[in-house]
């Protein structure tokens, strides 16, 4: 009993939640395997990927050491700094692929929207968590404003994927804080009604095109429907058992677009089949379950709301990405979390898990 307690205490002292860490490391091992295949066995790319992973793990470890109380003090400066940077991006940002998302800091390029993925749920969780739950209407309105301000700024870049992720992270805090079901019902109807004017005035042509193509991808097989069609062919031809690692013809012969980034799920489905998909989803569900468990057992409202929101947002990544590549949702640039190649999303996600671990181990430190 004491031996077990002692053993756990090593991880506790390191502020690491072991089950979560193991699941994350398994995820990353899977990611390396699939990126190697999706990149066309490009070792240099895999080495870059692994390097970033290492950086992300270190980042997670560092954030896990910061107690939630310290985070609370950093919330307002982080949020305000983030907002300022978003405005800066719109004014002086660097363009890439038709969108202004980057701020050139001379030494490195910085993507403020990534910072906001953490700052927004932290800000809302802190603001709502200050008062008794469920929140009062005024707090809800202010909380909502806190969410929408950066969301709209990011949508202007334009980056629909990130703005959806940030909006949902904030909305999840409100939901978890006990937003009444009647209000949820009312707001859902308002959103549904607002969809019409949004379609006409709120969306860029390329976004509309994605939605239209999504509704009938075969209508434009060589144009914007090409991605979806090739992705579905990859997934479907994988069958139950898959074609085998490095044997996916859709990916190896480059019929599949964005293989190592947004469409990496199709590579996995093609090479490892429905079986591989189930393994991946199980691992994801374990991570989410663990995250929610941590949230429920968190010390205070801020911790609960933040850990809960970050965990639910993690699922938004999964749902939007898999829904997109399998033709359930329009093409929105959201990577498959922890699997897709690409440093930024990996670092942000691991930072979020660092915060979750900090929340998880905070209580236990007190108990000790």
């Amino acid at each position: 009993m004491t031996a077990l307690h002692d053993k756990r205490s090593i991880w506790l002292r390191l502020h690491i939640d072991l089950p979560l860490l193991i699941a994350l490391l398994l995820m990353m091992a899977g990611s390396i395997t699939i990126v190697y295949s999706a990149s066309g066995q490009d070792s240099a790319m895999v080495i870059r990927h692994v390097t970033r992973m290492a950086g992300a793990i270190i980042g997670m470890f560092v954030l896990a050491q910061i107690p939630p109380a310290t985070l609370k003090r950093l919330v307002i400066p982080m949020y305000c700094f983030g907002l300022l940077m978003l405005v800066g991006v719109l004014l002086f940002g660097v363009s890439s692929k038709g969108a202004q998302r980057w701020l050139d800091l001379g030494i490195t390029r910085f993507q403020p929207s990534e910072l906001m993925k953490l700052a927004v749920p932290m800000m809302v969780a802190w603001y709502i968590g200050r008062n008794q739950l469920p929140p009062r209407p005024l707090h809800l309105i202010i909380g909502f404003a806190v969410v929408m301000l950066p969301t709209l700024l990011i949508k202007e870049q334009p980056d629909l994927g990130t703005s959806i992720l940030i909006a949902s992270s904030g909305v999840f805090v409100l939901f978890l804080s006990g937003l009444s079901w009647r209000l949820i019902g009312f707001l859902s109807s308002v959103v549904a009604l607002a969809a019409w004017p949004f379609w006409h005035y709120g969306m860029h042509d390329y976004q509309k095109q994605r939605v239209l193509t999504f509704l009938d991808p075969e209508s434009d097989p060589l144009g914007s429907g090409y991605h979806i069609i090739q992705s579905k062919i990859a997934i479907g031809s994988g069958g139950i058992e898959g074609k085998g690692w490095l044997q996916g013809t859709q990916s190896q012969l480059e019929f599949l677009p964005e293989r190592h980034t947004d469409f990496i799920f199709s590579v996995l489905s093609e090479e490892f089949g429905l079986f591989g998909v189930c393994v991946l989803l199980s691992l994801y569900l374990f991570i989410i379950g663990r995250g929610l468990y941590i949230a429920v057992n968190a010390q205070d409202a801020f911790g609960k709301l933040l850990a809960g929101s970050l965990t639910l947002t993690f699922f938004v990544y999964i749902f939007v990405n898999i829904g997109m590549v399998s033709g359930l949702l329009p093409v929105v640039g959201v990577p498959l979390p922890l699997i897709s190649y690409g440093g930024t999303s990996m670092v942000t996600l691991m930072a979020a898990f660092g915060i979750i671990m900090s929340i998880a181990t905070d209580k236990r430190m007190l108990l000790k």
Binding site: L133, G239, T249, L285, G308, F315
Partner: protein
């Protein structure tokens, strides 16, 4: 409880509320995962077959492989048509960054005309951008070398070797072999109708003329295919399986290239035609029409300048051996003699008096003999040996056109010889019916007179004249002329064209002997018209000269070669065979506008026969052996 706001936070109520919300959230997530999974199940399990097929369609392409065209050899195995690698400068447009700039700098190394550049730019509009397109065909060695050292400067440009037809003997064989050239839309439509389009999917060229056209189905072969895996840009990654193409059959001709070259040299720059047949089987030993042209010009697309040059008044594009229509003139006198003997118009020993002209009783018009003072007493032998016109005016007049027409038709006049090239005309064997159909006029008795000496309305091609002579010297046995004797596919050898046509049977078989003896005398006797040309020959030839009038000479006028325009001078004609008692070869020669058959035609026959018998010594027969 809600109304009374607690001043102290109720942590356990908050915890419960949060736990319920987290639980609802997790259930919601499970529901969404179920939706994702059911959709993936539909794609990966229910629709797996469909997507599997589409995945294969994406990556597997079937590429046709052109078969190698069959080769053509002469009777001694000399290669007459071969497939030679040619080097083309080709471009894959998608691999070139700036096409205009690259074209400009490439043309500084290799000369590429503006026309070629324009054609190329036009071509690439109609093809996929990863497909190789010819920029310049047939580079010479120097150009290949010049480009090769600079290749690194031009990504997307490469030199490709392809097989193209080549005719090493050039213009010597054009009218017999024909040529291949780029397959055009019309031919493609025809192939589609014949269900052959698939077989030509990888083929660039098709036979356009001569043997190349006639034997196209045998020469072409069967298309092969290659199943390859391609990437999204259509580039071949690897070959999955391959069905090799079946090369076309090789053809062995009856033609003797040596003899063909003699024929070409003999005609020099004279317009004319030479046909040499193997008397034993009708195989064509030589078939030459002058002037000729280089068939290789057509293989890679002839320039309009070169083509215009071929449209000159000498008409090199016409195959005179099978399309040239000439009055057969005196060369048909032996046939006419046989008919007269068969019809008992004359007997072997019958003589008549030739005053130098013929007149129909009570008609003033005189049909003159070529010898103005006549031949005196003439029998059938002398009539042939000295080519007496009056004798044949008389017998023709007495036999009438219908008998002549029917008899000559049995020797192949007025119909296609059946030689295995498509470029052939029937020429004209006149008859009452023909004249009525052609001119809506009755046949006059006078029309028959000049037919008796192979003139008037009568025209024949050199191949018909050769064939008719061949039937005569074989005493009625009819081996139709043909160019191809054997088709070879790997080890399998197929004999072609060895069928006989129904023979010409006479009531009195001895009449053959009379005509053949008379043709023998034409050469042997010092009074014979071909005597001089064959003096000292090591073999025993026979023949018949002919001189065909091209324009009619008015009554009372004399033919004066110097006074006539070149194109109006007589055609020289000669038919001959040897050895007379056991014929091995038959020649038929027409030389346009050069005058007499004995002075121009017979010497050419001598050259051909000398060459032939030097290469093929006479097979000794029983009576000649010591």
């Amino acid at each position: 409880m809600l109304k009374r706001r607690p001043t102290i936070r109720d942590h356990s109520a908050e915890a419960n509320l949060f736990a319920r919300r987290a639980f609802v959230g997790f259930i919601f997530i499970l529901a969404l995962v179920a939706i994702l999974l059911s959709n993936l199940y539909k794609i990966q399990v229910d629709d797996h077959q469909d997507y599997q097929t589409r995945s294969n369609d994406n990556r597997i392409k079937v590429i046709p492989i052109a078969p190698n065209r069959g080769l053509i050899y002469d009777r001694n195995g000399v290669l007459l048509a071969e497939n030679k690698p040619v080097y083309n400068l080709e471009v894959i447009p998608e691999e070139v960054d700036d096409l205009t700039a690259s074209l400009k700098s490439v043309s500084e190394i290799i000369e590429i005309t503006e026309q070629q550049q324009a054609d190329f730019l036009d071509d690439i509009k109609h093809t996929r951008r990863f497909k190789s397109q010819v920029l310049k065909a047939r580079l010479n060695e120097n150009e290949v070398a010049m480009f090769s050292v600079n290749q690194h400067k031009f990504p997307g440009f490469s030199i490709e070797a392809r097989l193209a037809r080549y005719y090493p003997f050039g213009d010597t064989l054009t009218h017999a072999l024909g040529y291949v050239a780029r397959l055009n839309r019309k031919e493609l439509n025809k192939l589609e109708q014949q269900d052959e389009a698939t077989n030509y999917r990888a083929t660039h060229d098709i036979g356009k003329l001569g043997i190349e056209k006639y034997y196209e189905p045998m020469l072409h072969g069967k298309v092969g295919s290659q199943r390859v895996e391609v990437n999204n840009r259509g580039r071949i990654i690897r070959t999955l399986s391959m069905v090799p193409p079946q090369p076309g059959d090789d053809l062995v001709l009856t033609l003797d290239i040596g003899l063909q070259q003699i024929a070409q040299h003999a005609l020099k720059d004279m317009r004319g035609a030479i046909v040499v047949l193997d008397a034993k089987d009708g195989g064509v030993l030589a078939l030459y029409s002058n002037p000729s042209y280089d068939p290789n010009l057509f293989v890679h697309g002839i320039s309009s300048k070169d083509y215009k040059a071929l449209l000159n008044p000498d008409r090199p594009l016409i195959n005179r051996t099978t399309q040239g229509r000439y009055a057969p003139a005196s060369t048909i006198k032996p046939h006419m003699a046989i008919l007269a003997l068969e019809e008992n118009i004359v007997q072997e020993e019958t003589t008549m008096w030739d005053p130098g002209f013929f007149q129909i009783p009570n008609v003033e018009h005189r049909w003159r003999d070529w010898r103005r003072w006549g031949h005196g007493h003439v029998d059938v032998y002398k009539a042939i040996e000295e080519s007496c016109d009056t004798y044949f005016y008389d017998v023709a007049y007495r036999m009438g056109i219908t008998k002549i027409s029917n008899f000559m038709a049995r020797f192949g006049f007025g119909e296609l010889s059946g030689i295995d090239i498509h470029e052939e005309t029937t020429a004209i064997l006149p008859s009452k019916e023909w004249k009525e159909a052609r001119f809506k006029e009755n046949w006059w008795r006078g029309d028959t007179i000049s037919v008796g000496i192979g003139q008037g309305y009568w025209t024949a091609t050199p191949i018909q004249i050769a064939n008719a002579t061949n039937i005569l010297v074989n005493r009625g046995i009819n081996h139709p002329p043909h160019l191809v004797q054997v088709a070879k596919k790997e080890d399998q050898i197929t004999q072609l064209n060895n069928e006989e046509k129904p023979p010409v049977v006479l009531n009195n078989e001895d009449n053959w002997r009379i005509a053949i003896d008379a043709m023998h005398n034409t050469v042997k006797k010092s009074t014979g018209t071909a005597h001089r040309a064959f003096k000292g020959a090591t073999y025993d030839p026979a023949g018949k000269t002919g001189t065909a009038q091209v324009v009619s000479i008015a009554q009372g006028e004399r033919y004066d070669a110097d006074a006539l325009k070149e194109r109006q001078r007589d055609n020289a004609i000669y038919v001959g065979f040897a050895p007379f008692d056991s014929p091995q070869i038959v020649v038929s020669i027409v030389v346009e506008n050069t005058g007499g058959g004995s002075s121009v035609g017979a010497p050419i026959a001598r050259q051909l026969m000398d060459y032939y018998f030097a290469a093929n010594p006479i097979q000794s027969t029983g009576d000649k052996a010591p």
